[in-house]
């Protein structure tokens, strides 16, 4: 009984400490930051294709994601991307910059546990599931195309 009381008190305390995100404003924040990141990507692609007219659209698309990934990683290093994440929620997670952040962030966090088992291993705590599920799905998809 006492344990139950204590747990209840603890959970109440916990609930009061968890930062509350108001649903409606957070939707708007996610919308405009997410849209803005996509817009920046489109601008990078257009500028690249303007300065390098011989570049194919596919290559420009690859450069676009490479540049976005690099920018997000460096911003994470300076601690700026996490502030953006606190404001925008999914708006900063879903664009490819969020994928980059999810690799750099644990790498920074676990650097103190050493380079091999800290930095290099923990780098994939979030990116690992993403890459694994993506590869499994795309191989399945390719095999289905091969059969039909």
């Amino acid at each position: 009984m006492e344990v139950f009381e204590r747990d209840k008190k603890y959970n109440e305390y916990l609930q009061s400490k968890i930062p509350k995100t108001k649903p409606w404003p957070s939707l708007f924040h996610a919308f405009w930051i997410g849209g803005l990141i996509c817009l920046v990507g489109e601008c990078i692609k257009d500028v690249l294709m303007y300065f390098f007219p011989e570049m194919s659209a596919t290559d420009a698309g690859i450069w676009e994601s490479v540049i976005l990934i690099a920018i997000a990683s460096i911003l994470t290093g300076f601690g700026l991307y996490d502030r953006l994440g606190a404001y925008a929620g999914a708006g900063s997670i879903i664009p490819i910059t969020g994928f980059s952040n999810s690799i750099t962030s644990p790498a920074l966090e676990f650097k103190r546990e050493g380079v091999i088992f800290g930095l290099c291993a923990k780098m994939f705590t979030i990116a690992g599931p993403v890459i694994v599920s993506g590869l499994v799905a795309c191989v399945l998809c390719g095999i289905i195309y091969l059969i039909f």
Partner: protein, 122 residues
């Protein structure tokens, strides 16, 4: 080339996708890894049923910058591989199409985390 209407579509579609993600976070309390995986698989699925290509024609970076675009590239690579190189093509295709992105993400993350240290979260 620099087309205002296209930019508007990119902004609106990209924002809309992120808003769906935010709705998922609020209603189901999913963690960011689950959100990323869900949208990635959605991208693979949309490409597999040939819906992604017209979406990309319509909104450009609005659908390729969200992680769905990563799934799209994976699936597109695998499908192209299936058409040209059989089983081996399927196995190589996905990663070939996304190799630049993954490599840059890992290499830059390594360099950045060597030079910066973790900021305490407030």
């Amino acid at each position: 080339m620099f087309d205002i209407l296209m930019y508007l579509k990119v902004f609106l579609v990209g924002g809309f996708i992120c808003m769906i993600g935010q709705i998922l976070i609020i209603t189901t309390k999913m963690t960011s890894a689950r959100i990323l995986v869900t949208f990635l698989l959605l991208g693979v699925f949309l490409e597999a049923i040939k819906v992604f290509e017209p979406l990309k024609e319509f909104a450009g970076s609005g659908v390729t910058v969200p992680i769905m675009g990563f799934g799209y590239s994976l699936a597109k690579g695998a499908i192209e591989g299936a058409e040209t190189g059989g089983i081996l093509g399927v196995l190589q295709g996905g990663l070939t199409a996304t190799a630049a992105g993954i490599t840059v993400a890992v290499v830059i993350a390594f360099i950045v985390s060597l030079f910066c240290s973790s900021k305490t979260k407030k």
